[in-house]
Amino acid sequence: MIAEERAIIEVRDLDFNYDQAPVLTDVHLDIWPLDSVCIVGPNGGGKTTLIKLILGLLSPARGSITVFGHKPEEARLRIGYVPQYAHYDPQFPISVRDVVCMGRLSGSFTGRYSKADKEHAMAALAKTGLTDLATRPFASISGGQRQRALIARALASGGEILILDEPTANIDHESEVRFFDLLTELNAAMTILMVTHEVGFASGFFKRIACVNRQVVIHPTSELTGRHIQEMYGGDLKMIRHDHRCSEGGHCHD
């Protein structure tokens, strides 16, 4: 990490309440270019709230957030967002391609897609390996495929940051492996922020872990030494060191 580089997301002294009940207090967070941060924490701990604040869907009670030095609402179009897919109506009649095209909506006032928009959408489908499913109904594909379609939608929109909300919640292990391969590839050009509640192990992919439970504490991911766990899962693993306290901005071991 280069010291003089400026953080692309800066959260300072942030408080957020829902009807008086504090959800987040005194949050400091810096996200750097090409960072990969996993946001973990218990349900109701404020993970999704933090993301919605960064996207400008909610506004803080105190403190500030800047994204690329601007207000979150103004920087929105530079963020690709992958929401939880659980909230979609399973009966909604829409094709995979039409879902992905939504990533290109910002192009015109009426939402008409140009030829270039459609090409971007098809390229995003190709990148996520969904070209063959483009015309299939969104409701008829598997959970893992749907997740990839939502990632394709975020990729079609372009942008330098990718934010994912619980993308691995309902997918099988094989899809999860492929999913992290895709994220690794994307991380070469994009900053990645991902929410998950599977706290135990979040794959070796992430550089840093943000634990969110009313407060946000940054942990570095560090190599797991326990040989038996490595043997059990067979692969390189990283674990979160909750015994380890860092400075507020977090630090990095590499």
């Binding site: 979609y88 009426t110 099988d172």
Partner: protein, 311 residues
Amino acid sequence: MTDFLAAISDPNLPFFRYAVLTGIFASIPFGMIGTYVVVRRISYIAGAISHCILGGIGAGLYLQNAMGITWFGPLHGAIAVALLASCILALVSLYAKQREDSVIGALWSVGMAIGLLFIARTPGYSDPMSYLFGNILMITRNDLFFVLALDVLVIGIIGIFYNTFLALCFDEEYAQLRGVRTHWLYLLLICLVALTIVLLVRVVGIVMVIALLTLPAAIAGNISRNIMQMMIFSTLFCCAFILTGLGASYSLDLPSGPVIIMIAAATYLLVIIGLNLFRRWRKKPIQPEGKRSLTVQTAIKSRAASKVSLL
């Protein structure tokens, strides 16, 4: 059936021809807007608007008959109140998220109360029954112009904003993040719903609006791959229900509104039962495949187990 055709061509029964033409042309906004109401799940908002409209109808009758304002009739009152109610409902969904249903419920009955009070104070006899249960046979030439204007408006606006409306219904939050002005778009959608309901009130009456708005679209939803198809099927179903309902009510000498609704509901029921039977029948041979899908936990466990056994 021959009676029905004879009635259409009878020059002494112009109202019957108007009714048939209305049925055909009104199916377009009913089918298109009904599709959005179903996929966006706002039928309770449609219900509130339709009941509020009685307030406008009452005010129109009162102004016309008690105040002598001849240019302002029940139709104008209905349109004004429907649009006003849409603005209130759009604001409510924006600012009063938790209490939305209470406000909708209040608006629903307050609109009716105002309408009944106005009607009580209006001199002469006006029967609220015809507004509550509608009568397509009371359609006039002027109403027919309203129907055609609404056709142009609905097709035009949906044609222009098709993609943004689709995004609004599928994933409003995402649309907002892509720079779509979702609040204004939602207000526009609710206003179109409101105008469509004014027309629906004419055809089937306040009480039965929701059925004719949602049943054709709900049936169409089962056989459509996208919103465009759903709109087309829904329009065709709606047209079929109105015309067969009109024909049946004519030959059986029954009120048209309830007959139309009963035909729509019976079709809906048959389609749902038929589709369920069809899916059950088709699913049987491919049952074993379903067992292959494992949860993440079992996948990890089985993988861990196989590693351990290898060691």
